[in-house]
């Protein structure tokens, strides 16, 4: 078209009327050849120009659009990586000093002390430090007390998680070989140690090595005799830093991987999160909930300096259905870097709190500051979900809360909703859809109402000089005022913390490990409305009407006490004269293998749990209002039958503090112990401050002897109905 030009010298144009209405009309009115020609030429020219301009415009806009796209790509690539680049030839060298002795260890990198431990009776074992091979930054610091059993396994686990190429520094303080098994020694050998196989009692040893690479230095001094330690050793060596490219993985350039890269350049010991091929995800995208009533409820995660725990916790939290990461804030007690790194890895909001006071009071002050800040950050919120860093969160945690949270608004007799059932062990919890009301406040993943906090708790929160546990304080009658908490039969949180202010491995093994944890998604809860104050009583009465009384002449500790039926409701009675008369329950708790360190998880003197898939109601007589119904007549024993404990076998170790997790559920333990039968008893009483021991006191449970008797309502002792252990009833 563009090449077409009108040819005025061609044949003269003779208009013909029939050709076109327009032309004929034009012809008629002008009737002059030249004008007509001019007009025609002009029209053609105009059309041509229009066409050309149009094409140019289209081409131009195309080009601009393309440039836009390129610029966009370029900008995406900009945040790529700001790794500090050193000149390729000037690779830096790190001077490393490692010291190992009986009473002191230290590690200095380029003159900066990165580890120093000379505190008596602390830090025994093998200290391990991981350095970034490109920057020389400390990425992890661990102590493995390989004098004690199983710590070498933890060390193997840890060393295997460390990325290849990192610089590992080992040093022994005091003793680190007693329980260092061959597997660990072989691993050290494979890392490059020359002497690991020969390491023995009270040897001093240091090693600097690159994982999967060269050995920078190793020193050992043998212990001359059993009773003495090897001479202190000081290892001085140099480590050549590598280029940062070699220390990094090449993940796809995304916002997520930018966070991952930053995290992996700083810390070690998080396993596959930093693996170059197929790293573990840091974004989970769980299913949303259809009607999520807790989507806009702020979630406060209370944390200390246990970054590995926090990592595990946040992973489970971010995988729960219906989670809203925008509402999560992690409150870190102290200016610790690594927990903050974990928070940033997941793209969450982290807040650091200057620690106030010590021990329990520090935790308590941290709780207060965190709760206050949570409601400040979310002024529109009426509730807050409070979590701790050592909890796994069930996949239907938010679904559970979404179905129950309205109860807090509608029922003034409620104190909280908690995800934790103190008595919900693997063998005593059964129904994920079942809910209870309990008078204790379990914590461990719970919902706090703003008005409760602002109007009641915050103004009188224990001051820093009071070394109280916040949860103990919250359970006190002055605060709780007779209100109750809603809990599920099967817990929606799992307490995995083993180390903590009030926690140790043994305690965890006995009381927390076998806790039942819900893994079923989208559980539709049963009878939520009947959890309200009055309807719950109706519910209980119905249950009691339906219930069969268990044969109280049998030993409740024996398996046959509950018949081998399924889906039935049974009731049993235990003696409880006053609120503080807890010995019978404690004994029963021991043989049921549930929480027996204090009395928890009851509603008006009634416990509900499952045995062999049967619902068992335990009624405390006479303090429970449920003990005075028509059951007495239905009871098989003459009069009212109940379990009771021979009091003389037990004495109370009052105010003994139990070992508890960092702010976890626990109270003052009124630990029952029989001085006659329990060797640990007096020991614990002698060391009221040693919380571990006090907890350990409840120790070898199966060996704890106790005697349960069947009593009549008058409280007279009658014939023994159960005996465990060697001590006969006399």
């Amino acid at each position: 078209m563009e090449t077409w030009t009108p040819n005025p010298r061609a044949k003269p144009f003779v208009p013909r009327q029939q050709r076109s209405l327009y032309l004929s009309w034009k012809y008629k009115i002008t009737n002059k050849r030249t004008i007509r020609r001019l007009c025609q030429a002009g029209a053609v020219l105009f059309l041509l120009i229009t066409v050309i301009v149009n094409i140019k415009l289209i081409l131009d806009t195309r080009r601009v659009a393309n440039e836009d796209a390129e610029a966009q790509e370029y900008e995406d690539a900009v945040p790529n990586m700001e790794t500090p680049r050193r000149p390729a030839n000037g690779r830096k060298v790190l001077d490393i000093e490692v010291y190992s002795s009986r009473s002191k260890v230290y590690v200095a990198v380029d003159g900066t002390t990165v580890l120093e431990d000379d505190i008596r009776e602390q830090g025994r074992g093998i200290h391990v430090i991981v350095l970034n091979q490109a920057t020389g930054h400390v990425m992890a610091k661990r102590i493995f007390d390989t004098y004690s059993p199983h710590e070498d396994e933890a060390m193997i686990l840890f060393l295997n998680m460390v990325t290849r190429g990192r610089v590992l520094i080992f040093t022994i303080k005091d003793e680190g070989t007693f329980h260092l098994k061959d597997a660990a020694k072989n691993l050290l050998k494979s890392l490059g140690s020359q002497v690991s196989l020969g390491l023995s009692w009270r040897d001093m040893w240091t090693l600097v090595v690159k994982k999967g690479g060269q050995v920078y230095g190793e020193k050992q001094s043998k212990s001359p005799a059993l009773s003495t330690w090897g001479d202190p050793v000081l290892l001085k060596t140099e480590v050549q830093l590598t280029a940062s490219e070699e220390a990094e993985c090449h993940w796809a350039e995304t916002e997520l991987n930018r966070r991952r890269k930053l995290f992996c350049s700083k810390v070690e010991g998080y396993g596959s999160i930093c693996s170059c091929k197929d790293p573990a995800p840091i974004e989970f995208n769980p299913d949303p909930l259809p009607n999520n009533n807790v989507f806009n409820v702020p979630v406060a995660v209370i944390a200390g300096n246990r970054p590995n725990y926090l990592y595990r916790m946040l992973r489970s939290l971010l995988s729960a259905h219906g989670v809203n990461p925008q509402m999560i804030t992690v409150f870190i007690d102290g200016y610790y870097e690594e927990p903050m790194d974990v928070v940033e890895l997941f793209g969450l909001k982290g807040v650091q709190h200057t620690p106030i006071s010590i021990k329990n009071a520090r935790v308590s002050q941290h709780y207060k500051a965190s709760l206050t800040a949570t409601f400040n950050l979310h002024p529109e919120a009426n509730f807050a979900i409070v979590l701790e860093e050592d909890l796994d969160i069930s996949i239907d945690f938010f679904s559970f809360l979404s179905q129950t949270i309205h109860l807090l608004d509608e029922d003034d007799s409620l104190y909280c909703i908690s995800a934790w059932n103190d008595q919900g062990y693997e063998h005593t919890a059964e129904d994920p859809a079942l809910l209870y009301r309990v008078e204790s406040m379990p914590g461990l993943g719970w919902v706090l109402k703003k008005s409760l906090y602002k109007d009641e708790l915050e103004p009188k929160w224990p001051t820093p000089e009071k070394l109280w546990d916040w949860d103990m304080w919250m359970r006190m009658p002055e605060q709780r005022k007779g209100r109750e908490c809603i809990i599920p039969d099967v817990s929606r949180s799992y307490h995995f913390g083993i180390i903590g202010l009030n926690m140790n491995g043994y305690f965890h093994e006995v009381y927390f490990k076998k806790h039942r944890f819900n893994t079923v998604p989208n559980v539709q809860l049963k009878h939520v409305e009947s959890l309200k104050k009055d309807s719950y009583e109706v519910e209980i009465q119905n249950l009691l009407k339906e219930a069969e009384v268990l044969d109280h002449s049998k030993n409740p500790c024996e398996d046959s006490f509950v018949p081998d039926s399924e889906g039935k409701v049974y009731v049993m009675f235990i003696r409880m004269e006053t609120e503080t008369d807890t010995s019978t329950w404690t004994e029963l708790g021991k043989c049921l293998h549930v929480w027996d360190l204090d009395v928890r998880g009851y509603h008006k003197g009634l416990w509900r749990l499952f045995r062999k898939r049967n619902h068992v109601l335990v009624v405390a007589v006479p303090i429970s209002p449920y003990s005075i119904s028509e059951f007495a007549s239905r009871s098989r024993c003459s009069g009212q039958m109940m379990m009771s404990v021979e009091p003389r076998h037990f004495h109370k170790v009052s105010n003994t503090r139990m070992e508890r997790s960092w702010g976890s559920a626990a109270t003052l333990a009124t630990s029952c112990s029989s001085s006659r039968h329990d060797g640990a008893g007096p020991d614990a009483a002698d060391h009221p401050n040693q919380v571990q021991r006090a907890a350990g006191l409840a120790a070898p449970r199966s060996e704890r002897p106790h005697t349960l008797t069947c009593c009549d309502p008058a409280g007279r002792s009658s014939s023994p109905i159960g005996r465990v252990g060697q001590v006969p009833y006399s």
Binding site: T61, V64, I356, A369, T372, A373, F375, L377, H378, T463
Partner: protein
């Protein structure tokens, strides 16, 4: 044949060129821009107002794309809107072209998940971008918490025009807060005419405005529903953060009383203050914290637990006779009334055994004063034996917003002067027994009320 051909070709050309014309329109709309005012402008080149309009439009397009919940808060533009000045200005850009190089928008910060892509997109569109961050005030409390700095302002510059985006954060007193705009040393001090910015000289507090979506100069913009109310608020929006750092030091020296009685008083005083604020808000009477309550806010960010009352001040020019009835309706009974509207008026209400004292302040040249009446009355006959009246003198002050007990309240901006006037320079030391007749340093004895007026001037219920 060629003749017929030529006509055919001509008509074909016409058809094709009209198709191209349509294409051109389509492309223009899609890639270049919607027909803006400069298309209409007579001169053919872009005028300043066209540039401003373009800048605003580009910003709004971006804001829409990234779901920024913004609304117009530019005082000049809103003023034009309030007076509907469109008839006297250019037709195509009557509100958004303000002759000022700045246009301000506010953003509901908690309704927008911060997206750094917005800024890079703005840069890409040609904007120069300055992001200003600051401490999160919601973490400021008696506890020492530190979190990530939060964004306070975006300044976007294009063609010499500045779009100021003010981040409004929801605070626990149910109000919106924006931070002060402070430049760091290494920032570009000439980035914008900072003095001309409407927002940022001080921190500010606002009630949450009702918004309406409207079309201004062909652009979809959200504006406050009640524009004049918003403009009034804007003028008196200055916000003072409590001095938590000093309060912490004070509380270390003099720890808070957590006895049940103190906690109880705290609860009641909070309820009373909320009730008073609510009642006076309905009457549209501005008030501020005075005397002990003001000292409590300033010194310890809280109520002084041994003060036993709540004190507020109101300018006598704002006095309305229905204050008493309104308080009565809210459940507060009048306890006593001293003075008269013309002189030394003071009202006391009682609720739940906590007293609410309302002092009325009189402006007199450079000073402001309020009166106090000391009445000694015989119990038996309710007869007044003696009545002294005194004045407390203050330097003239303006009012600022502050937060106390989860409530947005006013305090004198020159709080230190105000408190020093009342309590002297040793205000930072708690004094349990305070004698209002003699202790204050600004007290001025005014003499005795004339005896025949006592019945009017001193009414005790």
């Amino acid at each position: 044949m060629p003749r017929m051909n030529r006509t055919a070709v001509l008509s074909l050309l016409i058809v094709i060129s009209s198709v191209f014309l349509l294409f051109q329109l389509y492309y223009y709309r899609k890639y270049v821009s919607k027909p803006g005012p400069h298309i209409l402008s007579q001169t053919g080149h872009l005028t300043t107002s066209d540039l401003q309009w373009q800048t605003v439009r580009l910003f709004l397009v971006l804001a829409h794309r990234f779901h920024l919940p913004v609304f117009l808060v530019d005082t000049t533009a809103l003023r034009l809107l309030a007076h509907d000045a469109s008839w006297q200005r250019e037709l195509h850009c009557s509100f958004l072209c303000t002759d000022r190089p700045v246009m301000s928008f506010a953003l509901f910060a908690n309704m927008w998940k911060f997206d750094p892509a917005f800024l890079s997109a703005a840069k890409h569109k040609g904007f120069d971008v300055l992001e200003l961050r600051g401490h999160d005030p919601r973490l400021a409390s008696l506890d020492t918490l530190s979190g990530e700095d939060i964004p306070l302002y975006f300044l976007l510059r294009l063609h010499g025009f500045i779009i100021q985006v003010v981040f409004l954060y929801e605070r626990s007193g149910n109000y919106l807060w924006h931070g002060p705009l402070r430049l760091k040393a290494k920032m570009d001090l000439s980035f914008a005419p900072f003095k001309q910015l409407d927002y940022g000289r001080h921190a500010g507090a606002y009630n949450r405005p009702d918004l309406v979506l409207t079309v201004l100069d062909g652009l979809d913009v959200r504006v406050p529903r009640n524009v004049s109310r918003f403009l009034y608020e804007q003028q008196h929006s200055r916000f003072l953060e409590c001095r938590y750092h000093d309060a912490r030091s004070f509380l270390q020296l003099y720890p808070d009383d957590t006895s049940p009685a103190a906690v109880d008083f705290h609860r009641k005083a909070k309820a009373l203050l909320h009730l008073a604020a609510q009642t006076l808000a309905v009457l549209d009477v501005p008030f501020w914290l005075s005397s002990g309550t003001c000292l409590g806010w300033f010194r310890q960010c809280n109520i002084i637990s041994y003060s036993h009352d709540v004190d507020i001040g109101i300018f006598i020019t704002d006095y309305r006779p229905d204050i008493v009835t309104a308080f009565a309706a809210a459940g507060l009974s009048l306890k006593h009334k001293f003075g008269k509207v013309e002189d030394s008026l003071e009202l006391s209400f009682l609720s739940d055994d906590v007293k609410l004292d309302i002092f009325f302040f009189y402006e007199d040249g450079d000073i402001v004063w309020n009166g106090g009446t000391q009445a000694k009355s015989g119990r038996k006959f309710k007869r007044v034996f003696m009545s002294l009246f005194i004045r407390y003198i203050f330097q003239r002050f303006s009012l600022c917003w502050a937060e106390l007990l989860e409530l947005k309240v006013r305090v004198p901006c020159e709080t230190l002067d105000y408190i020093t006037a009342n309590y002297g320079t040793s205000w930072s030391v708690p004094v349990m027994l305070w004698d209002w007749k003699s202790s204050p340093s600004n007290v001025q004895r005014n003499g005795l009320w004339p005896k025949h007026q006592w019945a009017d001037l001193i009414q005790v219920y």
